[in-house]
Amino acid sequence: MPRTEIRFAGFGGQGVVLAGLILGEAAVIHDGMHAIQTQTYGAAARGGAARSDVILSDARIVYPQVTAPDIMVVFTLEALNKYRAEMKEGGLVIYDGSLFSPPEGLPYRFHSCPATKTAMDELGKGIVANMVMLGFLTAFARPVSVEAVESAIRENVPKGTEELNLKAFRKGMELAG
């Protein structure tokens, strides 16, 4: 895979950091790729904005910062508005359609994933919306293999919640059709 930039963005507490980390770990540990994950610090724990950037590549990654995301996974309208200017034209935006609708006329490919609603209604835990989104992303864009993500989820979520998170992940994959 050539260099691919993926940005997760939303509020603190929505699990965007973990989603990015799992993606990166899946790529590196299980798919043998190179990956970099970076994130914003500080306000997230207090409910402020949170961002998690992942760069994936088959080759060593030189420039370590995301500059123009190929893919953006957004949990809030605020996040979309904040970062959309940086998106690569024609890039893919996966958004939580159960929380907001994006403005019309932007030059990106939008796909709705009703993650929060699905997480709450079908899994009983709003907190796993991030895994739903990750499932959607994985199924839709295949940045890494499904098996890799599933292994990474198992190793990175709190003990005892593995199955719930995997279920959410698979639900997301289903939503991607």
């Binding site: 509020f11 409910g47 809030t76 929380l99």
Partner: protein
């Protein structure tokens, strides 16, 4: 001459940090005046909803304990109706 007390409760949803993480107002209210709202505010939180204002005794506990000065309780004595 009998008077009636009208209690007004104001929750500043821009200041409130949400009943999920906080909820102190609900916890300290001796009259269970508040419910957790089902609405998500633009700040992404679910504020308290003073659904049983009539039970409120204006004891001010919620106001005093709210860590974010997000609640104002005002009791007005009105003349007999």
């Amino acid at each position: 001459m009998s008077r009636e007390r009208v209690v007004e409760i104001y929750v500043d949803e821009a200041l409130c940090k949400g009943t999920d993480g906080c909820g102190i107002c609900m916890h300290v209210c001796p009259k269970a005046v508040y419910d957790r709202s089902s609405r998500l505010t633009p700040k992404g939180i679910r504020p308290p909803e003073p659904v049983r204002v009539d039970d409120c005794t204006a004891c001010n506990r919620c106001m005093m304990f709210c860590p974010d000065l997000a609640i104002v309780v005002e009791a007005k004595e009105t003349a007999e109706r």
